[in-house]
């Protein structure tokens, strides 16, 4: 009250009136036309499931950072982009109009727009002329400062132990922002509703979603929260729930236990920036193994997946970290964000990962996380990290699934909207040359509907790619026939005698077999996809005697020496590869008493990295130093990763 009084009575009354009027408006907003989640059944439904490709991590102008970097793409526009229409991006001209027009080369099947839930209301207030907060110091800074400063202004709050909202933007009680955010959230839901194809054509699925953006100590703790249904609770934020346990508890209370059909899951991402914190083994408040077990099971339920690839690099694996026994995996050297001075967190944690500083932990990468999960399962009887795999973009341009290497358009607005900036060293975080065009999420689903895709996410029958639309399947079971790759009834047999990727099975005396099969990306008429080089199987296990974590990689199909190559100067590819690959593989070192996971990695023939395409388009004199920097890879092998299957050891 003192604050209000201090501003003068008239201003105070105005503010109060605005709050009151806002309350009225929320109550009188027209309801969505679809109260319940009704839809027509899909005309095309495949009981053996088909691959659908989507992007589950996309930001629009509603995100504080995207907006600061002058991205104006709205949720409606972002959904339309995913279905093939163009959007306009910075750089902006003198009148503030975006000057680049981009479109995707082919539509996606599904998209979740995941704007940062923190600051939805702040951005609405700070960018609405005449709002109560319009003239506040914070809003004026946000609008007028350099784009990086504007981003940090809000972003820094997400790294604090006790993040705070700005009273001059939100009012002393924060209600001014909550009110604005609730109107924004209504629009988010309406945009998702308008984009969802409820007709039997089932051409496109949208998901209501948001990003929870905790980054305590500047170590990334981000999660994308994805809802199955149309009407969903108001998003929580780092401010109300500073811990992941708090986030999951809130989602349980407001959605899973709401009794109205609400369903939700969270997908962590950029563990590669978390300095060991995201998957640190901890059970806050638990005092008994039983309580630890309950927490582990709750975590596994809330977070069945991890996003292992996106603009900010790869989180599959990293060589040279302590705590994992096994030969180095040369294919881990792929789109890694590198930091000054190699440091290993060991069993501890560090900080500043989101600024690309601090130590790396083996638990920052899928493989080490999965191994840690097996260890925990051994210790307490429950695996907190039963994670399936997806990839996405994390585009802050609203450009879902725009993963082409040939013409990478940058990560976020003015931060990297020109070839010079894209090939530069970046600012704030590593950025620039370190970015990647990002990947796609793949699911095996009966049809393109919310229920079918969400079920696939829940059961982890998913895969991720570094961009191309490679389709890959993995089944595991000791009863799988060795000739499945030649059998017309392969899928029927595989489902009958094995478990699909994401599943778990009990070990038997008979050695485990994997059926793994992949199809190349068919590409488009203008840009045919790249042939496949090989499929690899990655196994991780805990040694029965010494409890050590192990890894091993096998080539199981295709040919690593197929002679295919790419010309770095023209990006033309040479040599043949495979259109499809298939193998039934038997684990040569099978031990039914060891806990283990297996997943597959499919590699394409070599192609140019995006930066090579971009450098090649510049006149030699205009090329920045990164174009000839030997530490920047000129070529790469794009890839797909399946979710693992988990083997329960026989006691």
């Amino acid at each position: 009250m003192n604050q209000l009084r201090a501003r003068g009575r008239r201003a105070g009354l105005l503010l109060a009136l605005a709050v009151l009027a806002g309350g009225c408006a929320t109550e009188s907003s027209p309801p969505l036309a679809h109260g319940e989640d009704r839809r027509e059944p899909c005309a095309s439904r495949d009981e053996w499931r088909k691959p659908l490709f989507g992007d589950l991590h996309v930001h629009t102008t509603l995100s504080f950072d995207a907006h600061a970097f002058e991205v104006g793409v709205t949720p409606d526009q972002a959904y339309r982009f995913a279905r093939g229409e163009s959007v306009d991006l910075p750089p902006v001209d003198a009148a503030g109009r975006p000057t680049r027009r981009v479109r995707i080369d082919r539509p996606l099947d599904f998209v979740a727009l995941t704007d940062h839930s923190e600051f939805l209301g702040e951005i609405e207030n700070c960018t609405t002329p005449g709002s109560a907060a319009w003239d506040s110091e914070t809003c004026r800074t946000y609008r007028s400062a350099d784009d990086h400063v504007a981003t940090s202004l809000f972003g820094i709050q997400l790294t604090q132990e006790q993040g705070k909202r700005f009273p001059d933007v939100c009012g002393a009680d924060g209600l001014g922002c909550a009110e604005a955010a609730s109107a924004v959230w209504q629009r988010v839901q309406e945009a998702a509703e308008a984009a969802y194809d409820r007709s039997p054509r089932c051409e496109f699925t949208s998901f209501v979603a948001y990003e929870y953006t905790a980054a305590k100590g500047a170590s990334t703790g981000h999660r994308n929260v994805i809802f199955r249904n149309a009407r969903v609770p108001f998003p929580t934020t780092y401010f109300e729930q500073p811990t992941p346990q708090g986030l999951w508890g809130e989602l349980q209370a407001t959605c899973l236990d709401a009794g109205n059909g609400c369903d939700v899951l969270a997908i962590p991402h950029n563990s590669n920036e978390s300095n060991g914190t995201m998957f640190a083994v901890e059970y806050p408040g638990a005092t008994t193994p039983r309580e630890e077990r309950e927490q582990a099971a709750f975590r596994a339920r809330m977070e069945p997946l991890i996003e292992i690839f996106q603009h900010k690099g790869d989180s599959e694996c990293r060589n040279g970290l302590s705590g994992i026994v096994g030969a180095a995996d040369e294919q881990c050297e792929f789109e890694k964000w590198t930091r000054p001075g190699p440091q290993d967190c060991g069993d501890g944690t560090g900080s500043l990962g989101s600024a690309n500083y601090g130590c790396y932990s083996r638990r920052d990468f899928l493989r080490g996380i999965l191994l840690e999960g097996l260890k925990e399962e051994q210790r307490i009887g429950e695996n907190p990290y039963m994670l399936g795999v997806i990839a996405s973009t994390d585009s802050h341009n609203g450009t879902a699934g725009r993963v082409s290497e040939e013409d990478f358009g940058g990560h976020r607005g003015t931060d990297d909207d020109t070839p010079e900036k894209q090939l530069g060293t970046g600012a704030l975080t590593a950025g620039g040359i370190a970015y990647d065009p990002g990947g796609l999420a793949g699911v095996w689903a009966e049809e393109n509907s919310r229920d079918s895709i969400f079920d696939a996410l829940r059961r982890r029958e998913t895969f991720g790619t570094s961009g191309p639309r490679i389709a890959v399947r993995l089944f595991a079971g000791s009863g799988l026939d060795a000739d499945l790759c030649a059998r017309p009834d392969m899928l029927r047999e595989a489902y009958a005698k094995g478990v699909p990727m994401g599943g778990r099975l009990a070990a038997t005396d008979a050695p485990l077999r994997l059926l793994v099969s992949a199809l190349r990306d068919a590409g488009t008429a203008e840009r045919p996809g790249t042939p496949l080089q090989r499929i690899q199987v990655v196994k991780g296990w805990i040694d029965r005697t010494d409890g050590q974590a192990h890894q091993q990689v096998w080539d199981v199909a295709g040919d690593p020496d197929n002679g295919a190559s790419v010309d770095e100067n023209t990006c033309e590819t040479r040599g043949a590869g495979a259109d499809s690959l298939c193998a039934v593989w038997t684990d040569p070192d099978w031990d039914p008493t060891e806990r283990a996971f297996y997943y597959a990695r499919v590699l394409e023939n070599p192609t140019c990295r995006w930066s090579t395409w971009t450098c090649n388009r510049l006149a030699p004199a205009d090329r920045p130093p990164s174009c000839s920097d030997p530490s920047i890879r000129r070529t790469q092998q794009e890839r797909a990763w399946t979710s693992p299957v988990f083997v329960e050891a026989r006691s």
Binding site: A16, L17, A18, A33, S131, R201, C485, L519, A522, D579
Partner: protein, 272 residues
């Protein structure tokens, strides 16, 4: 939370205190008492709102508290309006607009559209639900990886067996994307099998085995099961979307009609 603490967190409380200050400041303005009526519609609205927030209908005591609070608000809003505080503030202006638009929409209650209404709406805007022509087909795959130089010969041999009536499910190589596809448009098929395959398959005759047709993966023997004509789909397939669109359109009409009506009460100069 105890009622007093809850009250302290209520924006309304803040508002009332501030409002009280302002009222004290501006004082009594005299004149005949202005009238505030409480009708059943208002009571019902307050009860529904309470139930939506708390999950249960208000008790009699809670309801009278709700009414007292509403009256307080109403008085303060009228006073604020009398002072002109609602003018010149964009946020307030936007909220008022939003509210008036909603009232305009509600001024003509919308009936649930019947079959004939939806059909007529679909027929008068066919372009909104237009689908591209497409096909549904079954295919048998012969992969280059497995058949090598014999791919074409093996595919032709399989075609003969299919034409002779053998079960397609027992022939050919497994295919990850499934053996039955569609109904899908040419573009959708192209995204999965390649552009050339898509152009050929959409031209094939219905009900007979054809091929081999080349794709990005190898050769395929194809039987088109059904051809979907382009154009607007039958209502049954798009009912929800048509209903949504119809409602939105009626709402827009109601807003327009209300505005046209209101315009008649204004003397507009220099306005197009």
């Amino acid at each position: 939370m105890n009622p007093l603490r809850r009250l302290l967190h209520e924006p309304l409380f803040h508002f009332l205190v501030v409002g009280g200050l302002a009222a004290a400041l501006f004082g009594d303005r005299g004149g005949a008492p202005r009238r505030i009526d409480i009708d059943e519609g208002l009571r019902r609205g307050l009860r529904q709102d309470f139930q939506r927030r708390t999950g249960a209908p208000p008790t009699a005591q809670e309801e009278s508290a709700l009414l007292r609070r509403w009256v307080d608000e109403e008085i303060l809003v009228r006073e604020a309006q009398a002072l002109g505080l609602d003018r010149g503030d964009v946020v307030v202006r936007r909220r008022l607009l939003q509210k008036m638009e909603f009232l305009a929409e509600e001024s003509r209650p919308l009936p649930e559209p019947d079959e004939a209404t939806l059909r007529a709406h679909l027929e008068s805007h066919p372009e909104r639900w237009q689908v591209a022509p497409g096909v549904r087909f079954t295919h048998v795959f012969v992969g280059r990886e497995r058949h090598g130089d014999a791919t074409l010969a093996d595919a032709r041999a399989l075609l003969a067996r299919l034409v002779a009536g053998e079960d397609p499910a027992s022939l050919g190589d497994p295919f990850l994307r499934g053996r039955e596809v569609g109904p899908s448009s040419r573009d959708e098929i192209a995204a999965q099998f390649g552009a050339e395959f898509a152009s050929r398959v959409t031209e094939l005759p219905v009900g007979t085995w054809s091929g081999p047709v080349g794709s990005s993966y190898g050769l395929h023997l194809v039987r088109v099961e059904q051809r979907r004509p382009g154009g607007p789909p039958p209502l049954a397939e798009v009912r929800e979307a048509v209903r949504h669109d119809w409602i939105e359109e009626r709402r827009a009409e109601a807003r327009r009609a209300k505005l046209d009506d209101l315009r008649r009460h204004y003397d507009l100069r220099g306005v197009p």
